[in-house]
């Protein structure tokens, strides 16, 4: 998995600070412990020097006892006749032989788990004065220092992470803004723009983005205007044609024979053309968003209203309320009924049924049915030709079912056609049910 930019910035900040503070902590540790140890060694050496003089060439154990600095210290005087010791018992074998043979010198040893500083001084007569002093206190200091340094390093790494997170968040904020504005544009709000940026780096990006969005908006507006102009330009001559056609058709009896037939052909085709243009303009506008806000529609009442204006069709309705645009729903049912009239001799049943949180509006006919392999195709634009033999006296626009599909999609539902037994087709529109108490 790839880390997000923000994570990566946070991680680099954190790692960077960790490395820097570790190096610093390490150096501090080395310098401080070295310095402290040397101080301690120098102190102990001076003390031993003094004590060695006080002890003299062959001291007694009691005399050495007076010289002891504390309970943890020990003093050994290694004479050729054997060692004289005082304080903490220490096995001379533990002491570094090098030190005992060639005093003076210092070393550190561990006696019974306790770190001790060993200082050796030569005494007159070949004896060696050895003083051991505990280093626990210094070790305690070291432990404290070490803990502080480790804590500091970890703390700075965490601080780095926090800083990185904050800084990247801040640096990425314009990006988040950009993403939200781009999302709005993709969602259809072409007027969305980035606010002006103070930062010169971001200002260029924002300006570029805004000019791109501007160009997109201009283009969408131009396209819409063009569609609108085409619509206007087509509708005007069509108005003239259909009305002149209607006037001519009323005087059909004055034009017998060939001229009459030609007139019939002309006017019926003009009517069909007009329907086609209206449907075509409607389908090209289907994705435009001038819908009124969705409202609650009692589907059963709507079906009754639409059917009431046509040839009577048997109804089988359950109360159901859906959400959407009434005009689209009207159009869907009307087109399905028109389709049944045109291809199957009329609908035989319109049914509204609740079906597991959804509602199904079905228009049934007793016609030839739709073969299985054409059931997708009939919803295509100008799919009329796919039904063999149905073209002849067809006066439809070839867009009726395509419009049904467009409208149903816009209503958030789906539409399909299935077999009806014993014969015929059933067109089903399925939508989300709002409530069934209609």
């Amino acid at each position: 998995m790839r880390l997000t930019l923000r994570r990566r910035v946070t991680l680099s900040f954190s790692l960077g600070l960790l490395v820097v503070t570790s190096v610093l902590a390490f150096a501090t540790w080395n310098l401080a412990t070295g310095y402290l140890l040397r101080q301690r060694e120098a102190g102990a050496a001076r003390q031993a020097e003094l004590n060695a003089r006080l002890a003299g060439a062959s001291p007694s154990a009691a005399a050495l006892g007076d010289l002891l600095a504390g309970p943890d210290s020990a003093i050994l005087v290694l004479t050729p006749f054997g060692p004289v010791t005082a304080g903490r018992p220490v096995d001379p074998g533990l002491l570094p032989a090098e030190l005992l043979e060639h005093p003076p010198g210092t070393a550190t040893v561990t006696v019974d788990g306790t770190p001790m500083l060993v200082v050796a001084r030569p005494l007159p007569g070949g004896a060696v004065y050895v003083e051991l002093s505990g280093l626990q206190q210094l070790d305690g200091t070291f432990a404290f220092l070490g803990a502080m340094l480790v804590a500091g390093t970890i703390g700075s790494a965490l601080l780095g992470a926090a800083l990185g997170s904050w800084a990247s968040g801040r640096a990425l904020r314009p990006l988040a803004e950009l993403s939200s504005v781009a999302g709005r544009i993709a969602g259809g709000d072409l007027r969305a723009r980035l606010p002006a940026q103070d930062d010169p780096d971001l200002a260029a990006l924002a300006a570029k983005f805004n000019s791109t969005a501007q160009a997109l908006e201009q283009r969408a507006l131009r396209d819409a205007r063009f569609a609108s102009d085409v619509s206007h330009e087509l509708r005007s001559p069509l108005t003239t044609m259909v009305n002149a056609g209607a006037v001519l058709r009323r005087r059909r009896e004055h034009l017998p024979g060939t001229a009459g037939t030609a007139l019939e052909l002309l006017t019926s085709e003009v009517d069909r053309f007009a329907r086609m243009v209206v449907d075509l303009l409607e389908i090209s506008r289907a994705d435009q968003t001038d819908d009124p806000p969705p409202e609650e529609i009692a589907l059963d009442a709507l079906v009754r209203n639409v059917v009431a204006t046509r040839e009577p069709v048997p109804l089988d309705l359950e109360p159901a309320v859906v959400i959407g645009d009434r005009r689209r729903l009207d159009r869907v049912l009307t087109n399905l009924l028109d389709n049944a009239d045109r291809h199957a001799g009329g609908a035989v049943l319109v049914r509204v049924r609740e079906c597991g949180g959804r509602v199904r509006l079905a228009v049934e006919d007793a016609g030839p049915g739709v073969p299985e392999d054409l059931r997708e195709q009939v919803f295509e634009r100008f799919a009329r030709g796919v039904m063999a033999g149905s073209r002849g006296d067809d006066t439809g626009s070839g867009l009726g079912l395509a419009l049904v599909r467009e409208h149903v999609h816009r209503l958030g539902g789906r539409v399909w056609v299935e077999d009806r037994l014993p014969a015929g087709a059933r067109f089903v529109v399925e939508m989300v049910l709002r409530s069934s108490d209609g």
Partner: protein, 223 residues
């Protein structure tokens, strides 16, 4: 009764074709090629209905509708070539009673005109709703004793609602009874008229107390 229609459209061929078609339907049709000509003629002559194309050169169709509405309650049908809802709503807001979209058929237009000109219904007793007093026979509406000027369509809409006596009247019933619409119930036509009506009869149009919306069903009269 001979219905006189004034047709305002800048396209001469459309005017001619619609004149022929509407004459076939039994109307007397006069033409005007621009808003200015139309307004001039309407000052001196009587017409029963005006058909106004919204895209006119010079004086805009919307301005023609607004001017006519300020003069009185002459029935106006707006004719648009654009099916887009903005134009239609703008036309209705300006005061039109109905709208048709090109390509319009003479017989459809004739049905619309007849629906607009239908008698105001059987002579009924005066109806009182809250502060409103509606006198169907005289076509007058008073609110708290003061005369409210309604267009014919607004008046019929109010009367349909008041006549139901507080029962719900569905949108379809209103569209059918007031405009003679059968289906494709474009409820925006109704919505705009309800808005216009509220502006005139309600004390506070934003919080209506008389013309109440019943969500998902229609409208009813409050008391």
């Amino acid at each position: 009764m001979c219905v006189r229609v004034l047709l305002v459209d800048d396209d001469e061929r459309i005017r001619q074709a619609l004149c022929l078609a509407l004459s076939d339907e039994g109307f007397t049709v006069d033409e005007a090629g621009s808003g200015e000509v139309a307004l001039r003629r309407l000052e001196t002559e009587h017409f029963d209905v005006v058909l106004v194309d919204l895209t006119l050169p010079g004086l805009d169709g919307l301005d023609v509708v607004r001017t006519l509405r300020s003069r009185g309650d002459l029935p106006i049908i707006v004719v648009t070539a654009r099916a887009d809802a903005r134009d239609m709503i703008a036309g209705l807001e300006a005061g039109a009673d109905d709208y048709v979209t090109k390509p319009l058929m003479g017989d459809v237009l004739a049905a619309r005109v007849r629906a607009l000109l239908r008698r105001r219904g059987p002579g009924r007793e005066a109806v009182r709703v809250g502060e409103l007093e509606i006198r169907p026979q005289e076509g007058l509406v008073h609110r708290a004793g003061e005369r409210v000027h309604l267009t014919r369509t607004e008046f019929r809409l109010l009367l349909e609602l008041a006549g139901a006596g507080g029962r719900i009247v569905t949108r379809e019933q209103l569209l059918h009874k007031v405009w003679g619409y059968d289906y494709f119930g474009d409820t925006r036509l109704l919505d705009v008229h309800i808005r216009r009506l509220r502006r005139k009869v309600e004390a506070n149009p934003d919080d209506p107390a008389l013309v109440l919306t019943v969500r998902g069903a229609g409208y009813r009269m409050g008391s």
